[in-house]
Every structure is written in C-alpha cells, then in structure tokens.
Amino acid sequence: MQVNEFKPLIVAFCCNWCSYAGADLAGNNRLSYPADVKIIRVPCSCRVNPMFVLRAFQRGADGVIICGCHPGDCHYTSGNYYTRRRMTLLFSMLDYLGIEKERTRVEWVSAAEGAKFASTMNDFVSKITQLGKNKRLEDLRCKK
C-alpha cells in the first residue's frame, strides 16, 4: 500500500541565548519533537529580517516560527521588542494578502523551557500538517 503522508517543512529561527538553548534542553531531557523542524540559529530574534521569513516560504517552507527570549529577557536588552513589532506587521500583512495566518508564529521560549519548546513544535507541526502544503507563497523560480 502506498502511503502519501504529507511531511511539512518547518523553519524555526531560534535565538542563540534562549530558544536555541531551550531546544538543546529538550534534547537533553529526551523530549521528542518532529524532525520536520529545521532550526536556524540566529544571534537574536531581531536578527530575523522579515525578508528571511519570506525567503523561507519562497524556497518551500510550509511554516515559519520565530523563537526568542521572553520580552524583557533579551540578551541584548531590547532585541525581541523590535522583533515583536516587526513580526506583528509582517504577519498582519501576510494575513491581509490571504496567506493562512497559522503558517507564521512567534513564541517566546527561554533556555529553561525545554518542555515548552518541544510542545510548541509538536503543536505547530500538527497545525501545519493539517493545513497542508504551502501553495500560496510558493515561488516557481525556486522549485527544483
């Protein structure tokens, strides 16, 4: 029997100081989360230019999640406050253009929250799996 199960491609931008360490802790604690999540380590969540998110979608991502330190806990004092404003406007614009709003997310995960990291990723991947392939933001120029 042929099984055509959809495996989403999720890009997770994780800040070096909190969320990336949170992912590490999830691993240390043997908490499982789907291998569909591809983590990209960034120095701070505000390193994520809105174009990175678009680029990820353009190259075939089905969902993009940005993880950073909790507001107030940024290693660089205020980076994640800027992230919050930028992503608010970007997500709102994507929604306005008719892109499913479930495909983008921002979560604050600290270095101590390995369990939250794993549960967030499990939840996000299952939502995206339900949504299916990202058709609305694909770019045929980037199709292999």
Partner: protein
C-alpha cells in the same frame, strides 16, 4: 482647476532665479502628451516661460529629486511642493537624505489632481488637447469633433478623493492660502478587504498583483525609497527579476516593497499613480499605516522633522504578533 496660476509660479521662480537666491528650479514640464507631466530642472527664466507647467496633471511629487539634485553642487534649489509632498520632504529630512539649507520650498495649494485613466474611461484614447476651465475639463480627441466636457470631481484621482491634508507642514514661502488637515476615509478600502475571507483576499490580491510587470516604477518614484543600492537590483536576492511562470510570485516583491517603507510611508500615493498596470499599491501601504495606528498609536510620517518611526521604537507592552492577527477574527 488649480487656484494658483502658472504665471504666478513662474514669476516667483524667475525672481528668485534672477536674484541668485536659487541656482535652479525643480518643477513640472509637459511630456509627450498634455497629460503626462514630467518633473524637470529649470535653470533660466526662458526655460520656465517656455516649458514650465502647472495644472491638474502635476501629480508628481518633486521632493525625492532633491536627494540627487543637491549632491555635488552648491547653491539652493527651488522646489514647488503640494501639501502631500511636504510630508515626504520632512520624512526625507528626518532620514538625513539631504540638507534643509539646500532647498527653497515654495508651498503650492492643491485642489486635487486629475487621474488620466479615469478621463480615458470617459473619452477613450486619442486625446489631442486638454483645456482647463473653472470646474470642468474640455477634452479634444482625434475621434470627436466637439470637445468633451467633464466635471473635475468625476476624474479626481483616488488619492485626492481621500486627501489627508491640505496643510503644508514645511515651507519657506507660501503661495495662496494654507489648508487644514482633513478627516479622510482613506482606510475604508483596506477595511473592506480585511472583512473578506482568507480565500477571497488571496483571490483579490492574486488578481491585482499577478498583473505586475516588475517595471520597478513604484520603487523608483517612491520618496521613501532612496537607498543607493536596492535589494531588487541584486541578482542574489532571489526577488530581482520577474519569474517567467504563471504563479503569484510578485507578492514577494510587493510585500518587501511595502514593508521597506512601513512607518516611513507618508501615503502620498505616487506608487499607484505611476503603476502602468493600475495595481492599487496604496492599499498595501495603507494597511501598514492602519496597523501602526491601531497597534502603536496614531502616526503620520513626515508630520514633523525628526519623528521616530514606530518600527525603530517599542514599548514593553506591545501586542503579540499572533494575538494581533487573531484579534481581527474575534
């Protein structure tokens, strides 16, 4: 019809030019047709008398040209600015794109500009000449013997129907009377789109944006787009050219373009005016302005010099991104 006459503008400019206060004049000139008015630099009184134009097609915002025209040469440049152009002027000063001392701003009141596409819908092609009367336009075409008379309010451009301000926020000299900041309905169209379902919105924007031919005119004309190097000229960016495939690929270009000017866009409406495909690009910019107003408080870019854009600022209790997107549904 514009209340200030062309002669008055020419006289003012000639005086300043002849007395040596300004080196040259940034104004408007007739293009190939009566209705395609193009920005131009005038250096002598004769040039002004021969070519200078001031009528209902002078929609072009001249503030952006100061960035290139003030570079490498001394002396002041006289520039004519309509109320909405003065906001762009302030925004450019805020971003230190040129020196305030190098510009001599003459504020010109504006009665709203005509949209040639609306006129063409009434008269069809072949417009040979246009005559300006008190509250009508007389349009002669190749195919009609009698000129067609059209009332101004029928052909006023969309941005002028929703004019946000008749007040000049900056000037050295004012011609005529200054207006007031107006209550406009400019976000109505945005709200209409917001109320659609996700599928309808996608369909709507696919219909609009897939017409894009990637001429980059919206970028080139935008007074907020003054980077010397642009991501859309970089072949490595992945968004440099138009894809030769029938997809909705242009949305990336348009999101990036609109996002880049978010918080700095003064809503002058030049992008929609120059679009050869008549894509309502201002609806993307206005969405950002509306969101900024809703989430971070009322903000009008260019209102004052030195204002901090909402995107380079924050408060500790800003709305969360996912909450902001979900709120609209509840």
């Amino acid at each position: 019809m514009q209340k200030i006459s062309r002669d008055k503008l020419i006289k003012k400019a000639s005086n300043l030019l002849n007395s040596g206060i300004v080196r040259c004049v940034l104004g408007w000139k007739r293009g190939e047709f009566d209705y395609d008015i193009t920005p131009n630099v005038f250096t002598t009184e004769k040039e002004l008398i021969d070519d200078f134009v001031w009528n209902d097609f002078c929609g072009a915002n001249l503030s952006k040209y100061l960035v290139s025209k003030t570079q490498g040469v001394d002396g002041k440049i006289l520039v004519f600015l309509k109320p909405c152009d003065t906001y762009s002027f302030n925004q450019l000063l805020t971003e230190h794109r040129f020196d305030r001392e190098r510009a001599y701003v003459i504020a010109v009141p504006c009665e709203g500009m005509a949209d040639i596409n609306k006129i063409k819908q009434i008269t069809n092609e072949g417009i040979s000449s246009i005559e300006f009367n008190e509250d009508t336009l007389s349009i002669s075409t190749l195919y009609n013997e009698e000129p067609i008379k059209i009332a101004y309010d029928r052909v006023l451009s969309e941005r002028c129907l929703n004019c946000k301000s008749k007040k000049h926020v900056v000037y050295d000299e004012l011609l005529g009377d200054d207006g007031e900041i107006l209550e406009s309905n400019r976000f109505d169209e945005v709200e209409k789109i917001e109320k659609m379902s996700s599928e309808e919105r996608f369909e709507f924007w696919q219909g609009e944006l897939s017409r894009c031919i990637r001429c980059n005119a919206c970028r080139d004309v935008c007074p907020a787009c003054t980077c010397e190097k642009c991501v859309f000229d970089n072949p490595e960016s992945g968004v440099e050219n138009k894809a030769s495939a029938n997809s909705f690929e242009e949305k990336l270009f348009h999101i990036i373009r609109a996002y880049h000017v978010a918080g700095r866009c003064t809503d002058c409406g030049e992008c929609s005016r120059v679009c050869p495909q008549n894509i309502p690009l201002h609806l993307l910019n206005r969405k950002f302005i509306k969101d900024i107003n809703e989430f971070y408080g009322e903000f009008q870019a260019g209102e004052k010099i030195g204002m901090r854009s909402p995107l380079i600022d924050y408060t500790t209790d800003d709305i969360e991104p996912n909450e902001a997107v979900n709120r609209r549904d509840s």
